[in-house]
């Protein structure tokens, strides 16, 4: 169906040209930051695993970008893009992955497991699904205080098998809480394909069990994810309750950097490499005349400079002092007792 020429050039989903460029910046920042992290990982400077979001940056960035400043999201390990949109700085991530004293978790918990409620993110824990009830509680606070704010929680195809996912989404649905659940169907939970995770064909169908709307969108189409999240956020803000959005995407790397991906067919990897969200987005911007190639190259250069600066800063910062591990288990007493065999 051919659209009239004047409409073909309109940017979808009510986005402005500046916003479109903004989104491009975050997509590029996410990808380039991860590439820097891979280098650091290979140099042995990353402490712990490194989990790439290659191929999934589109849905992370677009869904977070659809939120308002007061909204709060809870990322997974592959939602670096959503954290950056919400205001996490590349230097925070370098510090965090290198386990520096200056990192947001002060060397206590790995990768994206950190929080800043002012900026609007609450990092996940490794027990998948647990953030659904917790984010239901965050959304409950919005409802009780009659604030026009929305919570967004990411879960994977694997996490949708957990009891916590079910309990959290059911509770939120019954309470009609302003919550968006983004169910990332990226094909694999570690090595387990989605077909061995659930007998459901379309993951959004799980919404039916909770009496909430469930939609499936192309997770590698930035505009589609943005529009679906925007719609869910509007519904949540106007008292319409929870929406489940299944974003269909693909995990182009292994579970973590050590994973040889022996279980992912070569043709499948090639197919998805040809449907990369950043490539698709860039091509569409240029073809539609929403951005010039030189303009985008300028953004790339800016990202590279920002990452250079952030890495230079983080690398020379100190590791935490061992004894600092004892503080802050509880508010009172403020530190765990130092054991006698460690006393000087």
């Amino acid at each position: 169906m051919a659209a009239p020429a004047t409409q073909r050039l309109a940017i979808p989903a009510g986005l402005s040209r500046q916003q479109v460029l903004d989104i491009y910046y975050f997509l590029r920042l996410t990808r380039s930051l991860e590439e820097r992290l891979v280098n650091l990982y290979r140099q042995g400077k990353v402490i712990g695993g490194l989990y790439r979001s290659l191929g999934q940056e589109g849905e992370s960035v677009a869904s977070a970008y659809a939120l308002e400043p007061g909204d709060i999201l809870s990322p997974l390990i592959r939602n670096l893009g959503s954290l950056l949109v919400k205001g996490a700085k590349p230097v925070d991530l370098f510090r965090q992955y290198m386990a520096k004293a200056t990192g947001p978790s002060r060397g206590r918990d790995t990768n994206v497991h950190f929080a800043d409620l002012e900026r609007g993110y609450l990092g996940n824990i490794s027990h998948l699904g647990d953030m659904v009830p917790v984010m239901a509680g965050v959304a409950l606070s919005f409802k009780l205080r009659r604030e026009s704010r929305v919570g967004l929680v990411y879960v994977g195809d694997g996490a949708s098998s957990t009891g916590a996912f079910h309990e959290g989404i059911n509770f939120a649905a019954v309470q009609r809480l302003p919550l968006i659940v983004i169910l990332e169907n990226n094909g694999y939970a570690y090595s387990t394909p989605t077909s061995r995770q659930t007998a459901v064909q379309r993951l959004a169908d799980k919404a039916k069990a909770y009496g909430i709307p469930g939609v499936t969108v192309d997770g590698n189409d930035v505009f589609a994810v943005y529009a679906a999240t925007r719609e869910a956020a509007d519904r949540a803000r106007s008292g319409g309750g929870v929406t489940l959005i299944e974003v269909v995407t693909y995990r182009r790397k292994g579970h973590a950097e050590h994973d040889d991906q022996r279980y992912q067919p070569k043709e499948e990897l090639e197919h998805w490499a040809n449907h990369d969200p950043l490539d698709r987005y860039t091509a569409r911007l240029v073809a539609s005349g929403w951005a010039e190639a030189e303009e985008l190259a300028g953004v790339d250069a800016r990202v590279a400079r920002e990452l250079d600066d952030a890495l230079a800063l983080a690398e020379q910062e100190p590791m935490p002092a061992g004894e600092s591990a004892l503080s802050g288990v509880l508010a009172c007493p403020s530190a765990a007792p130092l054991l006698w065999f460690r006393r000087r």
């Binding site: 609450l122 824990i125 239901a136 009172c332």
Partner: protein, 326 residues
């Protein structure tokens, strides 16, 4: 002064905190129109309304998880487990999420999880548990166990005002059996982390908490009357943080220690208390530290079986006499 039951004291404490601080809200199963399985929250829905008295699905992980999220945002949730036995359904949420949140992220999680605990009520394996040992081991959670009506009130109020997550274990056997004159119009607060000297004595110390405080007191009276020995009873009240100072003070005074708890023996709190005394007051001991606890079985409901498995006053008397003669 007015005489109130342990249950009424708890109810008053909750009520007063909800009146005092609009950030406080309660959530749990059947706590609204029904007033809770034991009527702890009777009348709350009518007075405070459905946004502060939230009936939930049967969903302990959601109850505790949602309480955690709301607590991060500055609210003060009090989550009820209909029976504390079901807290195990939220074990992951409590130990992995709630207990670690401050340490990992710096976020406060000021919530209270409370519920009816304990046996002697023929409730069987799933309506009689004392779950403290499962959480005692996890850094990041506080645990309180009131024995008296005053502390039932004082500790719920202190728990709600605390900046840390608190597991509040009320004992259902005490709900309507324990009565006490409590002052009216006074802000009763029991400091968390401080033990209470329930009975002064010089010859032997019984360290205990929750409903066992009364069995220990009965045993002490019986021994005083028949043997003339003087037994000190320390009501720990708070398991985390534990009042080591009060424990060691009593140990140094009497030199003999009997630890009594209703929970099963292996891996129970008594083992940890024993280790602490060993480390901090070994030279003051005049005998081995002994334990009276439940036997290591699930708790059966048939009266002769439950009575056999759980510690009774006669067991405490027997153990105390053995230790006094050591």
């Amino acid at each position: 002064m007015a005489e109130v039951t342990y249950l009424e004291a708890l109810r008053q404490g909750l009520w007063e905190e909800m009146e005092r601080d609009e950030r406080v809200f309660i959530l749990g199963e059947d706590i609204g129109i029904y007033g809770g399985a034991f009527k702890v929250t009777e009348g709350f829905l009518a007075h405070f309304g459905p946004s502060r008295v939230i009936d939930t699905p049967i969903s302990e992980a959601a109850i505790v998880g949602a309480a955690a999220g709301a607590a991060h945002m500055g609210l003060r949730p009090v989550a009820e487990m209909q029976f504390i036995d079901f807290i195990s359904c939220a074990y992951d949420m409590l130990t992995n999420y709630v207990a670690t949140a401050r340490y990992r992220t710096g976020l406060a999680t000021p919530l209270v999880v409370r519920g009816p605990s304990g046996g002697y009520v023929r409730g069987g394996p799933f309506h009689s548990q004392m779950p403290e040992a499962a959480f005692f081991h996890t850094p990041g959670l506080k645990i309180v166990c009131p024995a008296t009506a005053r502390d039932a009130k004082g500790l719920i109020k202190a728990a709600i005002r605390d900046e840390d997550p608190v597991i509040y274990l009320e004992h259902k056997y005490l709900y309507r059996r324990i009565k006490e004159d409590l002052p009216e119009g006074e802000d009763l607060l029991t400091p968390i982390g401080r033990a209470r000297l329930a009975r002064q004595g010089t010859d032997l110390t019984i360290l205990t908490y929750s409903a066992m405080v009364f069995k220990a007191l009965e045993a002490a009276e019986e021994i005083a009357a028949s043997d003339g020995a003087s037994i000190e009873v320390v009501d720990l009240r708070s398991l985390v943080p534990m009042d080591d100072e009060a424990i060691m003070q009593s140990v140094r005074k009497t030199g003999k220690v009997l630890i009594v708890h209703e929970d099963t023996r292996t891996g129970g709190v008594a083992g940890e208390i024993t280790a602490r005394i060993n480390e901090q007051a070994f030279e003051w001991l005049d005998g081995p530290i002994m334990r009276v606890t439940a036997h290591d079985t699930p708790l059966p409901y048939s009266p002769p079986l439950e009575d056999f498995v759980l510690p009774q006053t006669a067991d405490i008397v027997k153990a105390a006499r053995w230790l006094l003669a050591y």
